[in-house]
Symmetry: C2
Subunit: 290 residues, 2 copies
DNA sequence: CGCGATACCTGACTAAAGTCAGACATCATG
DNA sequence: CATGATGTCTGACTTTAGTCAGGTATCGCG
C-alpha cells in the first residue's frame, strides 16, 4: 500500500478527476474545449497563429477551423503580418476580451476553490510548486534577463531571504559587495533566470570585473526545484556565456553553510583558492579556468 | 508571479500534460481509452456493472457497448448475478488478465519514469500524497475494520513512529497500555480507518472497558492529510459508534507534546479530568458524556 | 521573373465519446 | 399475478477532435 508506484498512481487518479473538473468548467461557456483553449492562448498574449498551433499541438487544418469559429462568434480578428503576409496574427476583439476575462475568472475561482478546502494553504501550494517544477523539468528554459527586471528581482529577493535563514548571523545585503547591475549585463557579464512556465525558479549572475576575471554571483535555485540539476544547468549556462564574452577565468565566493553549493563547484572543475576579496560573508573561494 | 491562484494554475498546466501522457500510453495497446478504463476497473476488482458505470461516470448505453467490445475481444465474460438476474457481473478471462497485467506494467513504468527524473524522490512523493489527499478530501471514507488487519496495522505503525519523533523520551509501545484487539471490535468497541482511495490516512480506536466508560485510543492522521479536519471526522465517527453501542461516557488520555490533539478535544466538548490510569506516557486526561 | 518553399485554408473523411428513446427481462410489492 | 420500478441492451443520432490531400497566396532567392 506504500510502494512508490502506487503513490504516484493515486496522485494521478486524484489529479485526473480534478483536472477534468477544470476542463468541464470551461465547457460551461457553451464552446468546445479546443476553441476555448485557442481563445485563452490568444488572451495570454500569443498572437502568432503558428506559435499558438505549436503551443497547443494542433494540426493546421484544425487550428484554422477553430480560428474561423472564434471569428464567427466575433471574439477574435485575424490579420496578415506586416513583415510576412503568409503568416497571420490573431487578436481579441472587445467581446473576445470580455469572454477571456470570464475564463480567467472561472480559472481563478477553480484554483481558489481548491485551496479553500485546505487549511494549510501554504503547504499545499509548496507541494504544487514542487510537482509542477518536477513535471515541467525538461521545459525549463534559461533566459538572459536584465538583473533589474521583475523576474530577476524576485529571484534575488528569495536568494537573500534564504541566506538570512541559512547563515547563523543572518544576512544583510548592504554589508555584502552588491554587484552593480551593469556588471551583469552584456558585454561585461550577464544574468540568467531559469523559467518554468511563467515562474522564475532559479538564477545566476556573471559579473564582469576589471581584474582579468569574471565572477559568478547569486546562484539560487527555488526550494521547489531542487533535485532537478538546475544549479548545474545554470552554471553551465553562465560558463557558456563567459566563453562567448571571451572571459578565460572565473572566480566565485561562497559559504560553508551552503554545502550543496560547494559540492556542485567541486564536482564541476572548480578549484579552491585563497580569499580574493574582503566581503564579510563568504569563507570559501573558488576559481575555474575556461 | 506569486499569487496563489497562478501557482495553482501552473500546477494544473503541468499536471494536465503529464496526465495526458499517461492516457496516451494507455492507447498504445490498440484499444480506445474508454475500453481500457473499463478493463482496468474490472481488473482492480470491480465486477458489478452498475458500480463500474458509476465509478467511471458512463452512460449505460455506452457502458454496454464497451463491455460488448471487450467481450468480443475475449477479454471479459459477463454473467447475470445470482441474487438479481437484472444486474450483471463482469470478470476477466485468462486473456483479459494478461491484458490487464500489461496495463498495470505500463502504469507502473510511467510512475517510475516520473520519479526517476527527480533526485528527491521522497519529497516528490510526499507532495503527491498531500495533494492527492487534499483533492480527494470529500471522497475520504471512514471504514470499520479489524484492528489487526493490514490497513489498521499500517496506521498504528505510523502512529507509534510519530509518537517516537514527538516525545522527547521516545515511545516504546510495550511500556504503554496496549489495548487488546478484541476491546476494539464490536460489540465492545470499534476501530475506524479513514481511507482515501486505497490508502489509509487516519485511524481511531474505540476501546470498551469494564469500568462503565469506553476509551478513545490511537487517534492518528497522516501528515499528508492534516488540515482537512480529518481528526474531527474520525472523532465524530467514534462517538457515533459509541452511541450505537450504548456507551454513555468516553475517556481518553493524551500528551501535551501533541498540542493539536488537545485543541481538538477541547473544541469538541471534552472536559479535562484528573489522571485515571498509570500509563507512563500521557499527561493529560479528558472525558466526554454522550 | 520564375520556382520551390512556406503558411494558411478548405473539403472530405474517421474515430471516439456520448446522448436519447425505446425494448426487454427481471424484481419487489400489493 | 398484475404492475410499476430497475438494470441492461440496441439502434439512431450528435459533437468533438483529429487526419489528410490538395489549393491558394506569399516569400526568398537565383
Amino acid at each position: 500500500m506504500l510502494d512508490p508506484a502506487s503513490r504516484v498512481r493515486r496522485f494521478n487518479r486524484a489529479v485526473t478527476s480534478a483536472v477534468g473538473a477544470l476542463d468541464s468548467s470551461f465547457l460551461g461557456r457553451g464552446r468546445p474545449l479546443g476553441a476555448a483553449r485557442v481563445l485563452n492562448a490568444i488572451g495570454h498574449g500569443r498572437s502568432d497563429v503558428a506559435e499558438i498551433r505549436d503551443y497547443l499541438g494542433l494540426d493546421s487544418g484544425l487550428m484554422s477551423r477553430l480560428l474561423r469559429s472564434l471569428e464567427d462568434e466575433g471574439l477574435i480578428e485575424t490579420t496578415a503580418r506586416e513583415d510576412d503576409a503568409r503568416r497571420r496574427m490573431a487578436t481579441l476583439t472587445r467581446a473576445g476580451r470580455r469572454e477571456f476575462t470570464a475564463y480567467e475568472a472561472l480559472s481563478n475561482a477553480q484554483a481558489e476553490g481548491l485551496l479553500a478546502q485546505h487549511s494549510q494553504r501554504e503547504a499545499l501550494l509548496a507541494a504544487m510548486d514542487l510537482i509542477a517544477s518536477a513535471l515541467t523539468r525538461e521545459r525549463v528554459t534559461l533566459e538572459e534577463m536584465d538583473p533589474r527586471c521583475e523576474q530577476a528581482r524576485y529571484c534575488l529577493g528569495e536568494y537573500y531571504a534564504e541566506l538570512g535563514r541559512r547563515f547563523s548571523q543572518g544576512f544583510d545585503v548592504s554589508l555584502s559587495r552588491g554587484p552593480d547591475a551593469k556588471d551583469m549585463r552584456r558585454p561585461r557579464g550577464t544574468f540568467l533566470v531559469a523559467m518554468s512556465d511563467t515562474l522564475p525558479i532559479g538564477c545566476v549572475g556573471l559579473k564582469g570585473t576589471d581584474h582579468g576575471y569574471a565572477e559568478i554571483k547569486r546562484l539560487w535555485v527555488a526550494p521547489a526545484a531542487r533535485g532537478l540539476q538546475l544549479g548545474r544547468r545554470l552554471m553551465d549556462g553562465a560558463e557558456s556565456a563567459a566563453r562567448e564574452l571571451g572571459i578565460a577565468l572565473l572566480r566565485l565566493d561562497t559559504n560553508s553553510a551552503l554545502p550543496e553549493a560547494g559540492r556542485l563547484y567541486r564536482s564541476t572543475g572548480w578549484r579552491e583558492i585563497p580569499r580574493f576579496n574582503d566581503d564579510p560573508y563568504p569563507d570559501l573561494f573558488f576559481e575555474k579556468r575556461l
